[in-house]
């Protein structure tokens, strides 16, 4: 069981992710964020529950939908928002955009926009941890679409073979853009693939942050002991459409009843109620937390909007070979 401070931290992280994503959604209409965005609203518990157990020097590898992991791992919020505004002060100096976030200071080594592309990268960082004997763990986040890719299977095989300190976190939200999981693979229990690769695999409620935390802790601890990788399939749901701020609920898209069910399972709503029930959170503490989060978001957006844009002459900066 987590100590009280960490229980509150989980709430803060989820609430930050939610509020940042909502603010991005609000601002997107002004067309100043000129990069494709993929929001994690509804999936906050997965990143929060995993990253709470990672050390600052552990690694995280995300995807096109990686705002949540960036925030949960402690990435610099100002630099993230500045990247969304494609400013020189952005975490990737305006070269990456929303899908390519990085903060090496806290082990965030870059997210990829190629589905499944980050799985080998995180596995490779884990190989380095083993060779360098620094006891660092790699956490690789990907969706249910990524398990259709060869990189998923090739990486799990290699990680198991070499007993690498890597945890594979599948955020299963059932959809790859609009393609339902049942249209993409026969095995709809992704965690079962782990057995074939001789590693532990679990399927858990990805909206239950305590459950995510419990299984992530177990998996990370295995890594630290040199016992090898784990696959954790977190069943969750994204509230928004695949990209941008569009809603994709209705005819031919996601069924309204399914959407309503998952809204009722909001990961933050029940966790907040839980914290209140055990006496860790009251309105006063909650207001304090929200005020602090709101301020950091205001600061980040102001920093971003006031930051300089690259100039055309900057095109060849960071080029090492022509």
């Amino acid at each position: 069981m987590l100590e009280n401070e960490k229980l509150i931290e989980l709430y803060k992280v989820m609430q930050t992710i939610r509020k940042v994503e909502q603010k991005i959604e609000d601002e997107y209409r002004y067309d100043e964020i000129k990069t494709p965005i993929h929001l994690s609203i509804g999936q906050e518990a997965v990143s929060a529950g995993v990253c709470i157990h990672l050390r600052k020097d552990d690694y995280v590898f995300g995807t096109h939908r990686s705002h949540a992991q960036y925030i949960a791992k402690g990435g610099d919020l100002k630099k993230m928002i500045a990247e969304l505004y494609l400013r020189k002060t952005g975490c990737s100096s305006g070269r990456g955009g929303s899908m390519h976030l990085i903060d090496p200071q806290v082990g965030i080594l870059g997210s990829t926009a190629i589905v499944g592309g980050n799985i080998p990268l995180g596995t490779g960082a884990a190989l380095a941890s083993m060779l360098q004997k620094n006891n660092r763990v790699s956490a690789v986040f990907f969706g249910d679409g990524a398990v259709d890719e060869g990189t998923f299977h090739e990486s799990l095989n290699f990680a198991s073979l070499k007993k690498l300190p890597v945890i594979y976190i599948c955020e299963n939200n059932s959809y790859a853009i609009n393609s339902h999981e049942s249209d993409r693979h026969k095995v709809n229990n992704i965690y079962k693939w782990a057995e074939g690769y001789d590693m532990p695999g679990y399927q858990i409620d990805g909206n239950d942050v305590l459950k995510v935390s419990e299984f992530a802790q177990k998996a990370i601890s295995r890594c630290r002991k040199g016992e090898g990788p784990t696959l954790i399939e977190c069943i969750t749901y994204r509230w928004k459409g695949h990209i941008g701020t569009v809603n994709d609920v209705g005819e031919g898209l996601r069924p309204k009843a399914e959407y309503d069910y998952w809204i009722s399972k909001c990961p933050i709503k029940w966790y907040k109620a839980y914290l209140q029930e055990i006496g860790l959170l009251d309105d006063k503490i909650d207001n304090g937390i929200n005020k602090e989060i709101d301020q950091s978001i205001t600061d980040a957006f102001e920093f971003a909007k006031n930051s300089p844009k690259p100039i055309p002459e900057d095109l060849f900066d960071f080029v090492y070979s022509i």
């Binding site: 100096s93 990268l121 596995t123 060869g150």
Partner: protein, 348 residues
């Protein structure tokens, strides 16, 4: 693996005699081995992975016994997962190691293009230079003995089109060692293109560790009538052709580019200023290849130096056939170069 032995044994031991002042003569294969061995002994961050790197053959001798010397943590066999392994090497490079990933055939590299092109080559720029990927991908091309369409490709031209990827393509033992060392100490991804038919080539190679700068070609043979720009194994064929052309009193200058990304444009222009005639020869396909790029560079920047149209001697745009008779029709050699130069010289 027939072409790895039978066909190679048929090759002459081509001798590159003016590459360095060193009196020691070793083969291209041993030069590669020495670059790996000496680099690994100096830098514990370097490791080698790939199918068969620790087997008794040791990738045609280039990694033979290194696992015994440096341990299996640093020289290890891998699953047949070219794409993921490229990404795994990239991930390890990102956090401070210096991986060398080996493909015994260049054809297998195609399987790994997602990680090589989408990830390794782009990672540094895409994140504003916050990380570097000091990765070397060694690939070995070959030709002959019915290797066919999937065991013989030379796709270096295709990969010139991938921003962020450097490409070294040595033709001599001296360059094999020096450029492999340069590739290993480079902080960014390098595709290192070897040719199996060069493995027996011998030349002067210093025992000491040395590097060769990227983007610096070399004049292999001085000449005044025609410029032959060659890479990889075609350097040997070009030198043979130049020798024969001499008997016709045609003086051919042979330039070996050594790296094709970056490319040494100056050395080509300087030669063209003398000769005004250009033949380009590559081990790969003609369309969209190395020779195409060089032709474009010359057309853009040195058109005024050309007295005659450019000639390209490359493989035709068909998959490599297995039949020995069709292979002979498919592959270009010193005879093709000789004939094409003779035609070029006759044009008025």
């Amino acid at each position: 693996m027939p072409w790895t032995s039978i066909e190679i044994e048929k090759q002459d031991k081509f001798f590159i005699n003016n590459d360095s002042d060193s009196s020691r003569i070793i083969s291209y294969k041993d030069a590669l081995y020495e670059a790996l061995d000496q680099s690994m002994s100096l830098d514990s961050r370097i490791f080698i992975m790939g199918e068969g790197v620790d087997d008794p053959g040791g990738v045609f001798g280039t990694t033979k016994g290194l696992h015994e010397k440096y341990g299996r943590d640093r020289v290890f066999d891998t699953p047949i997962s070219e794409n993921a392994l490229t990404g795994i090497a990239t991930g390890a490079a990102m956090v401070g190691l210096r991986p060398i990933f080996v493909h015994a055939r260049m054809d297998f590299l195609v399987v790994s293009l997602d990680q090589l092109v989408n990830h390794a080559s782009k990672w540094s720029y895409m994140f504003g230079g916050k990380v570097n990927i000091p990765l070397v991908v060694r690939t070995i091309s070959a030709r002959g003995w019915g290797s066919g369409a999937q065991h013989s490709q030379c796709i270096q031209g295709m990969l010139m089109n991938a921003p962020g990827l450097k490409i070294a393509i040595p033709a001599t033992p001296y360059d094999a060692k020096g450029l492999l060392v340069s590739s290993i100490i480079d902080n960014n991804p390098v595709l290192f293109v070897e040719h199996r038919w060069l493995y027996k080539t011998i030349g002067n190679v210093p025992e000491t560790l040395y590097s060769i700068p990227f983007g610096k070609g070399i004049v292999r043979r001085k000449g005044t009538d025609v410029t032959i720009v060659a890479i990889s194994y075609m350097v040997i064929e070009a030198l043979k052709a130049a020798e024969k052309l001499q008997t016709e009193n045609i003086s051919a200058e042979v330039i070996d580019l050594r790296t094709i990304k970056p490319i040494d444009e100056t050395i080509i222009f300087e030669s063209l200023a003398k000769t005004g005639k250009l033949l380009i020869t590559d081990t790969g396909s003609k369309t969209g290849g190395v020779a195409s790029e060089i032709s474009a560079i010359v057309a853009e920047k040195a058109f005024h130096l050309l007295k005659e149209p450019i000639v390209r001697v490359c493989c035709p745009d068909v998959p490599t056939p297995a039949s020995d008779i069709l292979e002979k029709a498919f592959y270009q050699d010193s005879e093709t170069i000789y004939t094409k130069v003779m035609e070029l010289m006759k044009q008025k």
